[in-house]
Subunit: 224 residues, 2 copies
DNA sequence: TGCTCGGGCTTACGTTGTAAGCTTATGACG
DNA sequence: CGTCATAAGCTTACAACGTAAGCCCGAGCA
């Protein structure tokens, strides 16, 4: 039982988890620059300083948010083909970073790796070791996959417009500049105008293309 | 001649280039969080608001800085082997991002690509097209290389300590936590303690390992 | 000589993260 | 049941940030 006492018309008590969840929700829907201690507190029906009873600082809050994003990533399964396991966790990572587009930006310079991050890290290394990679090759394989995954996510956030209005504005701007583009950057114009404009560009399939190339290449370097 | 007039004891006049250069120098040596309009102005012997005669806003300043970093990257040469050309520009990119560790963090969400960025972009696409890649494969090759390059740079900034003191503090902390690490993350402990602690970890060689694997893989997909 | 105006300077405002201290409900214990 | 410590809220306050508005001075030209 242990109800919160009979006079439960009062708002639910704050705790670290509720703070982090609200922070993630706020950043997800309003953009990262909206995440302000006062606004977050407001969202929770509370004053800014009250948050500091549950997070040590804004940096601590951000660390917590990042680790929650890592917690959303499906760790690789240990049984079955290592390549499909790695592919699935890579895709899961891209999806998580896509749901929380602010996260990739927070990872820069942030050295406090949370438990979810460490745990995922550990699971991936275990998967590779179990697949027969030497320690040296495990390091290579890990480094390579993560570089690709995070780099792809970074580019995706960079280039794909956040909202529909942004997209329209950007398209408009690009059309205006198209003349200059054609003249100054002919190869870019060729590829953009001659290929992407026709067949389009799908981030998801682009992602797995490169991913598979990497995994294939790594597979040939197992046990040696 | 056109000396700045005879009474040249006055300080040199400000201009956009001097502002950007000073901003880069400040961020390089003091860290990105030191880059403040007031401090930057101070560095130039000027008041904060004077900077706004040469940059439209702080965002504009940051855009300009990023493009100057892109300008440091050697574009690929058009003659010779495409793989070595791509390898050289990749290495040049990593080096530039290493000289200016704040740059990779600024690229997130920044959609205003400057001329140096566009020009490099164009040169890389031209190199790939010249090497015989189809338009479709050119897009794949470009996307893949950039994802890897920027992702690697991102990880490098993330994990390598900025200064010697930071490094010492981090090493100390890691030793304290080593027990927990061993227990909770056995595979991570194995790889870190059993391999990296012995042979070390060199970012530069790690970088070219993955890069070469990618370039080799792409080479097999030319002209089809 | 006087006007224009680019490029400095001063002042001021709103917003941010957070330190310091006050208040109040809760739950343990004499 | 009363008392009192403690956790968790609130209020106030401050320094630092980006930048809008407007002043002012000196150089170049009529």
């Amino acid at each position: 039982m242990t109800r919160p006492t009979r006079k439960s018309r009062k708002r639910a008590p704050l705790n670290r988890e509720r703070v982090l969840d609200a922070a993630i929700a706020l950043a997800d829907q309003g953009g990262f620059e909206l995440l302000t201690m006062r606004r977050l507190a407001n969202e929770l029906g509370v004053e800014a300083m009250s948050l500091y009873n549950h997070v040590a600082s804004k940096d601590d809050l951000l660390d917590g948010m990042v680790d929650l994003v890592f917690a959303e990533i499906e760790p690789p399964s240990t049984d079955g083909d290592w390549k499909t396991a790695m592919q699935k966790r890579a895709i899961s990572t891209r999806e998580a970073l896509g749901r929380h587009r602010w996260a990739i930006g927070l990872m820069e310079g942030r050295t406090n790796h949370g438990p979810a991050n460490m745990s995922l890290h550990n699971a991936v290394l275990g998967c590779l070791r179990g697949a027969g990679f030497s320690m040296e090759m495990t390091v290579h394989a890990y480094s390579m996959q993560d570089a690709y995954i995070y780099g792809f996510a970074l580019q995706e956030v960079d280039m794909s417009p956040e909202s529909a209005e942004d997209f329209a504005a950007e398209a408009q701007r690009q059309m205006c500049e198209y003349q200059a583009l054609l003249a100054d950057y002919p190869h870019a114009a060729e590829v953009v105008g001659g290929h992407i404009a026709k067949v389009g560009y799908d981030y998801a399939t682009e992602f797995v293309f490169g991913l598979d190339l990497i995994l294939e290449g790594l597979d040939k370097l197992r046990d040696n």
